[in-house]
């Protein structure tokens, strides 16, 4: 398991590079590599901008004979008060496109969101090898 702190824009790039290395190691197709790295980039930026910084934990996982890449993004930020609205897309509090969560959800096979107002947000995504 690889744990990376997310505290500045350079850290977002490092999360991207770590996700790419793991996707390659897990032998994901080029398209699936691109998708999971893009999702990691979106979620790491969310952690930085909306969560006020946090961490990413990246790993190769095997479950029920499947292998894939899993990434967990955690912050202790303000949390998300209106989850359905954020997941619907196009809603943003920062200066973005509002596609971070809704878009990255479409790019992965499994997506879990845990959030509590005032306590923080954890997003877990998995991309399986086909």
């Amino acid at each position: 398991m690889e744990r990376l702190e997310i505290g500045n824009a350079g850290d977002v790039v490092r999360v991207r590079q770590a996700a790419r290395a793991l996707a390659l190691q897990a032998q994901l197709s080029i398209i699936d590599q691109t998708k999971v790295v893009t999702a990691a980039s979106e979620l790491a930026r969310n952690t930085l901008i909306h969560g006020g910084g946090g961490s990413a934990e990246l790993d190769i996982v095997t479950e029920n004979g499947r292998t894939g890449v899993r990434a967990v993004f955690s912050d202790s930020g303000p949390g998300i008060p209106d989850v359905p609205r954020v997941l619907a897309g196009g809603y943003t509090t920062a200066n973005g496109l509002g596609l971070g969560l809704s878009g990255s959800r479409r790019l992965v096979d499994a997506f879990e969101l845990e959030t509590a107002v005032g306590r923080g947000t954890t997003v877990t995504v998995t991309k399986w090898r086909r």
């Binding site: 824009a9 350079g10 977002v12 790039v13 991207r16 590079q17 790419r20 080029i30 398209i31 590599q33 691109t34 998708k35 790295v37 893009t38 980039s41 979106e42 930026r45 897309g89 973005g96 496109l97 596609l99 971070g100 809704s102 878009g103 990255s104 479409r106 790019l107």
Partner: protein, 145 residues
């Protein structure tokens, strides 16, 4: 720690080939640098080569859209070159179409598009022909690689 993406002028055209893993800071710096250079150099076209980019996320996509929009207002046309197929598929799935952004498969085709719009790599109306002719040659060999 912010890196800078180099911008090369070839005649009336500014050529940007992104060869680094773009951080958000570098992305914003490029957006500003390019807008300033379009005005400062009176550029008529921008070729943005993203063939080395392994991903284009929503932030980078927004920069591309902004550059295309800003350049249009400044009377320059932007052509995006070399998007990888996996990147195109991912962008579409992310919900981004990059609608309104002109694209070409390679730099040669991008130069041809700009030439057909009267925005060439050489300055026809320029007295300093020695400089612009040389630049035109560079454009050709550069695009053919």
């Amino acid at each position: 720690m912010s890196e800078r993406v180099p911008i090369v002028r070839i005649g009336q055209i500014l050529l940007v080939s992104i060869q680094v893993d773009l951080s958000d800071e570098t992305t914003l710096t490029l957006q500003d640098d390019l807008s300033n250079r379009i005005v400062a150099e009176g550029a008529r076209g921008v070729i943005l080569d993203i063939s080395a980019l392994e991903i284009v996320d929503s932030f980078i996509a927004r920069m591309i859209g902004t550059i295309a929009g800003v350049s249009k207002v400044l009377d320059a046309e932007t052509v995006v070159v070399g998007m990888r197929p996996a990147v195109a598929i991912t962008l579409a799935e992310l919900g981004l179409s990059l609608g309104g952004v002109r694209t070409a498969l390679d730099s040669d085709k991008a130069f041809a598009i700009l030439r057909s719009m009267g925005r060439s790599a050489t300055r026809d109306d320029d007295d300093d022909s020695e400089d612009s002719e040389g630049a035109g040659e560079t454009a050709h060999t550069g695009g053919a690689r």
